[in-house]
Amino acid sequence: MILVIAIVLLVVGSVIFHFVSPWNFTPLASNWSAIDNTISITVLITGIVFILVNLFMAYAIYRFRYRKDRKADYEPENKKLEIWLTGITTVGIAALLAPGLFAWSSFISKPDDAKMVEVVGKQWHWLYRFPGDDGVLGATDPRFVNPDNPFGIDPSDPAGQDDILVFSNILHLPVNEPYEFKMRAMDVLHNFGVPHFRAKMDMVPGMVTSMWLEPTRVGNFEVVCMQLCGMGHHAMRGRVVVQEPEDFEQWLAHQPTFAESMEENHWGNPENGEALYQTCAGCHGTAGEGNPALNAPKLSGMSNQYLIRQLEYYRDGVRGAHEDDALGQQMAGMMVTLPDEQAIRDVSAYLSTLPDRPAANSIEGDLSRGEQYYASCADCHGASGEGNYYTRAPRLAGQLDTYLVRQIENFKSGVRGSHEQDQYGMQMRLFAQRVQTEQQINDLVAYINSLEPDSDSD
């Protein structure tokens, strides 16, 4: 009897849960209402079957519960009933399948006027590329990948020269325009999925996959990687910013073409940067060696790429805008000395030419425990803390250890990395949780202090 009540309650409870649960599909932001409709049909049909079969079973258990004086019926089979059940089931299945297949056929045939954007998956972020004026994406090969050419575009292919490159996890798209996503992966399997768009597709190294969709709502949507891609899988997130077409065009105009990005001083001219740096040297030291007394981190040995990104963050209020980040606010205030994008690049370029001298250490900790914690860091920052352009992780070895401790604390508390444009800071926010106590942070930083990379690779 309890069983009968339990089954009925579970059925009723499941139905109630379905309707009152605050956890359900995100509001649709693309053209794929056909997917949502098919889901609704599926929920309806399967829901009815779920209710009917279980209530029937509960009733049978109640009505035919054991009685000593009763004998069960003897009925090996009932052809008519079985044929009816087969027929009804087949109809139900067809009702699910038909709309699904129609939706699928439009899912796999992109409209002729769809524009194109390429998504490149790599451990553990995405890069994006637009085809430029010629409408054709240049040829690529993983063999061309290097710090200057992270997309692996074939430098000799004329079609690639005008390709517009987005060196960021954040993709902008115009609203109400169909886009075909050409997807490839640099290293392992990845995926590009936006819950609000419903569509997703894996990226497979060695081939190009594709999907299409049309954003229908202006907004800022989170991208998640949906295919296990290694240790940092859960930290592989990005954003799609859907804008009015004119805003989008403006944004696109700010992104460099491949040819531009390969120009000699595109990422900064160290000669111009030297003069600019003199204002910074007061705190950060003439050789960029940093100054623990002034809480200024060491800048020498850091990669150009990382320095540019952080300076832009300071400029744009992505970093140093948090109310609890007094030191960051100081730095953000200093950004007036770097008037434009070119200044930021020049000073970064200058800094990356300075020879790296490890800073003096002051933090003590247990190295073997620190090594264990560092296991979660090594894949991105390198086994020797040398940093890696590929994962966009800065060099850690040789940095001022008090600065490292402060940044870990900032990431943990959300003082740094919680701005939605700081996609790499978001990754650090997830990973900084690995160390909980002050002692653990010290152990980790002490271990980083002990690292000695062979060369000054970035």
Binding site: L3, F25, A72, D73, I93, L101, S105, N191, T209, L430
Partner: protein, 595 residues
């Protein structure tokens, strides 16, 4: 050359005497079954504990420092692989298959007892190799149980050096073990059925195990092939699955391989594997339902055909695991259609189970409770399968927690429900003692309600778009704040669920010594395994003469019969009210010599 039927070989000179011969190097299918089951339950408990670690991280992120992104992926991989292959497959086929096939078809043992013994020892070795990977440098592989290349063998994925080698080696040894066992199960069913045991007189348990063994024999080679090719990519530098790529900034010396090829091979094994686990469960639950509802299984022939059809079709639907993998997109039409066609015979099985209850005389014993729990959870898991099988609906749901919830409901919870039902049902035969009913009921209610509380809400995480295999979600815009509370509650229920499994283990061990004596055929079952002269069945199973089968396995509540079940060994016409014979029992009453 005289033909000596294996059935009537004199068994006496084979009776083992020493302890080692009896329990360690035994060739008796019953001992081998128990060895299989013991190892399988042991690794199952290991995998269960791993799942507790995962849930702790998901429910209470970063509270436990030994769980980091690497170990999380390793726990996840090992949990999945152990549960699917080393626990479910081994327990259902190696355990129940070994124990029940000879007894239910009326054979003295498996067709090749020596091979059978080798099978269990190979299985044991494969488990040792698998568990050894916890102790090598870098730990076990963390590539997910699907072991997708290229990440499986590249830096950035834990265990990419030694862990994956041990995993591949262990799988290869397991496949050898399974093949030796599977050849035995199939040959025994085909060749060693006793007199009068026609195919359609076999209980559905045997049908389920028989077809599942066939499927295993044909599907595991795909896993073997992919494992060999991946091992060559890893160790010899070939490029079967490895294209030109850059790994964490370094070029890798491969070119021309295809990662998708591995996925095709893997799922050509992986999908039938689902049914390798499900079909024996379908079979066993049918027999438990019929016995405890005191009614013949409804639509026996349809049930057999459905098992055969499901088994055959399951080789044509592997692509539904790969809708968004980047494979040729129009394949989606074919795979979605084939997948949803499978739903028809599967639905018929569900109808027939519930119709077996209709007009029955239902005893809510502990096996029956679990069998009904199976129907409920299987209906739920089967219906969510219709979401994922329908290609366009799979697009938003693929690789989300919905998938996790679905396959746990259908492969984890419902199959384990049957395993529990089967253990409670056949324990009296295996040990001669009844399991404790009170403990069994506590076990049922916590397992049934607990698992539903764990997996029902998990579907909704998937609706929201929460990806699977995520170590931590962090703060995301599309998840309301309350999601963290939901995750925590799932973890709490999961821990309760896991903790209460100890009641089962205690019951299992305690009743071995202190349980109530069961006597012969305590449930009043008709099938052959309950009609042995000794309980538990002795070596050779049948005493001097093999049983002769006179009827199908479901003569419950036959009109005008003197009792509500007629064993298969009772000749037609006996035990009817007009005849004055008393209840017949087992082989003693069989007349007529083997022809």
């Amino acid at each position: 050359m005289t033909h000596v039927p294996i059935a009537d070989l004199p068994m006496d000179d084979h009776h083992p005497t020493s302890f080692a011969a009896k329990y360690v190097w035994s060739q008796d299918h019953k001992v081998i079954a128990i060895q299989y089951a013991t190892i399988a339950i042991f690794v199952g408990v290991v995998a269960l504990i791993l799942s507790a670690f995962m849930r702790l991280q998901l429910g209470f992120p970063d509270t436990f420092s030994f769980i980091n992104p690497n170990t999380y992926l390793q726990y996840m991989t090992m949990h999945g692989m152990i549960m699917v292959v080393y626990m479910l497959t081994a327990l259902l086929l190696g355990g129940f298959g070994n124990y029940l096939i000879p007894l239910m078809v009326g054979a003295r043992d498996m067709a090749f007892p020596y091979l059978n013994m080798l099978s269990v020892w190979f299985y044991f070795v494969s488990v040792l190799i698998l568990l050894a990977s916890f102790f090598v440098t870098g730990g076990p592989t963390g590539a997910g149980w699907t072991l997708y290349p290229p990440q499986t063998i590249l830096p950035g994925t834990p265990g990419n050096e030694w862990g994956i080698i041990l995993m591949i080696l262990s799988l290869a040894v397991f496949i050898v073990a399974f093949t030796m066992g599977g050849l035995n199960y199939v040959t025994t069913v085909m060749q060693a059925r006793t007199h009068g045991m026609t195919l359609m007189r076999m209980p559905l348990t045997i049908w389920g195990i028989f077809i599942a063994s066939w499927m295993g024999l044909l599907a595991f080679p795909a896993l073997l092939v992919s494992a060999i090719m991946m091992a060559m990519d890893l160790l010899l530098g070939t490029s079967f699955f490895m294209p030109t790529l850059v790994s964490l900034g370094n070029s890798v010396d491969h070119s021309g391989g295809s990662p998708l090829l591995f996925q095709h091979l893997f799922w050509f094994f992986g999908h039938p594997e689902v049914y390798i686990v499900a079909l024996p469960a379908f079979g066993m639950v049918s027999d438990v339902l019929a016995t405890h509802a005191r009614k013949n299984i409804f639509g026996y022939r349809m049930m057999v055909w459905a098992i055969v059809i499901i088994g055959a079709l399951s080789f044509l639907v592997w692509g539904h695991h790969m809708y968004v993998s980047g494979m040729n997109l129009p394949f989606g039409f074919f795979f979605a259609t084939a997948t949803l066609i499978i739903a028809v015979p599967t639905a018929l099985k569900v109808y027939n189970w519930t119709l077996t209850l209709w007009q029955g005389n239902i005893k809510l014993t502990s096996p029956m409770l679990f069998a009904i729990g199976f129907i409920f959870t299987f209906v739920h898991g089967g219906l969510t399968g219709l979401f994922l099988g329908n290609v366009i609906v799979d697009v938003p749901l693929a690789d989300t927690m919905f998938v996790v919830a679905h396959f746990h409901m259908v492969m984890g919870v419902s199959t384990v429900m049957v395993i529990f039902a089967a253990i409670y049902h056949w324990y009296p035969l295996i040990t001669g003692r009844m399991m404790h009913e009170g403990m069994a009921k506590i076990h049922f209610w916590t397992t049934f309600l607990g698992s539903y509380a764990v997996f029902l809400p998990m579907h909704y995480l998937g609706f929201m778009g929460v990806p699977r295999r995520y170590f931590a979600m962090g703060d995301t815009a599309f998840m309301p704040e309350s999601t963290h509370a939901l995750n925590a509650s799932i973890t709490v229920f999961a821990l309760i669920l896991i903790a209460f499994q100890s009641v089962f283990i205690i019951n299992l061990i305690w009743t071995l010594k202190y349980g109530r004596k069961a006597g012969k055929n305590p449930w009043g079952a008709t099938s052959l395994e309950w009609q042995t002269p000794d309980v538990p069945p002795a070596h050779g199973n049948w005493g001097a003469k093999l049983p002769v089968v006179h009827r199908w396995a479901y003569d419950y509540s036959v009109p005008n019969a003197t009792q509500d079940f007629i064993p298969q060994t009772v000749p037609q016409g006996d035990m009817m009210e007009k005849s004055s014979d008393g209840p017949a029992e087992g082989t003693e009453t069989t007349e007529g010599k083997p022809s």
